[in-house]
Amino acid sequence: MMTVEEIKAAIEAAVPGADVEIVANPSPSAQHSLRIGPRSAAAVAEFLRDDAELALDYLSNVTGVDWPDREVTEKVTVTRAVAKIVHDAEKAEEETVEETRKRVVPGYMEAVYHLYSMEKKHGPVALRMRTENRTDRVELPSLTHIWRSAEFQEREIFDLYGIVFAGHPDLRRLLMWDNFKDHPMRRDYVEPDDFEYEPTAHDEVKTRAEAHRAAVAGTGSGE
């Protein structure tokens, strides 16, 4: 079995302009993965499947992962010019201070593909693809035409995470019903508040249901 570094080199040699990056996995499993750019993903996938040495002909598992926006707090050392008065004369001096800054790392969603080879009996090789954000640019290329086993799994990710797989032959919801609106596996998913049909009327549920009924009555939209 080739290491991820060797696989990366092989991809870059075979697919010109491929955008491949190694994602290290610090856990004892040491299953490192390769992040590929969506633009060249289909060509890279086809190479991995058809290359005689790698022969990754079996796509075992496709997973969606949600990484919401997160705020990181970091300490930065900044050097800045400060005006100081020394012996009645104004002098510009440099001062080094440590500052705590907060910044928001924009979120994204990820699709992870675990590949094995039935011919060579090796694996797993993990491929990852990232969407640009979590709201409107959530398109990734579908790999169903290369590995058919992605068909239902990509549908499931579309259903539960809302990643749109371009080129999928039949992209419909898989587990939720068709007119369901949200994507329940996202980290920020909030359960709807209409618990009219909830059979267990515990206090919390009851309060929420009453609040919902009041809101519906207030808007006059009716049931």
Binding site: S27, Q31, N61, P124, H145, S149, L160
Partner: protein
């Protein structure tokens, strides 16, 4: 592997060879659309197939999922690592012990924990008992769907009951066993339990012989199963099919042999393969796998050493794996069952994904059914061997 040499031949295939197949109706073009399920007795639970029929011929078949969906993965992401263990029982409720093992294996990969020798043997014994009872009842259901109402299924259930009794006396539950832990097993097996298990295992070859005499040469079974629902090996590999279905198509791939997880490299067993990839081959692969499993059980029960069943250094309280990820998989009776875990260092998994063999094996259901009669659809579906708890999660 002569019959299967074609699988790995690198030939340029025509564009779209692995796309879903379509066939054209040949009658007057009037199609009857039928929803088979979700309350059809042959669907093994709540599963629906939207079928378009031209007379009796199936022209289109679209599976519809989700009737048993409870978002297992979301529940597990909100619970601690250990609290997800009993939920895995409810995935494939016929084989809770192999589900436990797959999850424990993935977590052990994530944390690098070691499993004591005796626990490894117990895991093998329980997994192979599970495989025998799953294959026996799966064959029973298949024959039931062929119209042999009762008898073969009850023969299978009689044997399954003996195995479930063993599970009950060891784990406290017949089906929801919740037995394995990260770094071992929950309780030790007593000497008398191992003795009882030995007695059940001695009886198993007789049961397989009995089923063999009753069914394998049966003319009706051959007429209904041979040449029906054929799955080509190259498509099986491409569509991620695993387990007895994949080997029925002649692909020599068994995770027990390939990954050698646990201690499977110590046992001598063969991997049965089919030639034609039809229902009959899947049936035969299951029959032969039962015999191989009995062989593994005999070896394991003879060699099981004394010792602890839990890694003494295993952490139960405050269990927080370091940040990272792991994909672990085992050969469950229905196919390759995998768990993919991402840890962010917290007490519950950041991402918990189940790779359900039952769902992925259904990818090729339409391909296998097109052109066959409705009665054959029931059989082809039965030969996939699914459990809806795992399909819908």
């Amino acid at each position: 592997m002569t019959a299967t040499a074609g699988v790995f031949v690198r030939e340029t295939k025509p564009e779209g060879w692995n796309r879903p197949r379509t066939i054209a109706p040949d009658g007057d073009g009037e199609l009857l659309e039928v929803a088979m399920g979700p309350h059809h007795p042959s669907t093994h639970g709540v599963f629906r197939m939207d079928v378009a029929l031209d007379g009796e011929r199936v022209i289109r078949l679209k599976p519809v999922f989700g009737y048993l969906h409870r978002n297992h993965e979301k529940i597990a992401e909100g619970a601690s690592y250990l609290a997800a263990m009993p939920y895995t029982d409810r995935l494939d409720y016929f084989c809770s012990l192999t589900n436990n093992w797959a999850y424990a294996l993935a977590v052990e990969k994530l944390t690098g924990q070691q499993v004591p020798e005796r626990a490894e043997y117990l895991r093998v014994i329980l997994a192979e008992l599970t495989r025998v009872q799953n294959h026996a009842s799966s064959i029973g259901f298949l024959i039931q769907e062929m119209g042999a109402s009762g008898t073969p299924l009850m023969y299978a259930f009689r044997e399954r009951e003996k195995i479930l009794d063993l599970f009950e006396s060891l784990t406290g539950s017949r089906m929801m066993c919740n037995y394995m832990r990260f770094g071992g097993c929950r309780v030790d097996a007593t000497e008398s339990w191992l003795e009882a298990a030995g007695k059940v295992v001695i009886g198993l070859p007789g049961f397989v012989d009995e089923i063999d005499r009753l069914l394998t040469g049966n003319e009706i079974l051959m007429a209904r199963c041979q040449g029906v629902g054929v799955l080509r090996p190259d498509l099986a590999v491409n569509a991620g099919v695993s387990g007895p279905m994949l080997r029925g198509s002649g692909v020599n791939y068994d995770v027990r042999k390939v990954d050698k997880y646990g201690i499977y490299d110590r046992f001598k067993f063969r991997v049965p393969l089919g030639d034609h990839g039809d229902i009959y081959d899947r049936y035969m692969v299951r029959m032969l796998e039962m015999r191989e499993s009995i062989g593994i059980l005999e070896q394991a029960l003879k060699e099981i050493p004394a010792g602890p069943v839990m890694d003494p250094k295993a952490k139960i309280r405050g269990f927080r794996p370091k940040a990272g990820e792991a994909y672990g998989r085992i050969e469950a009776p229905k196919g390759e069952l995998g768990f993919y875990l991402i840890s962010d260092g917290g007490p519950n998994p950041y991402r918990y994904r189940v790779r359900p063999p039952s769902l992925i094996n259904l990818t090729v259901l339409e391909d296998m059914c097109l052109g066959h009669d409705v009665a054959d659809v029931v059989l082809i579906f039965g030969s996939v061997d699914i459990v809806l708890g795992e399909v819908d999660r």
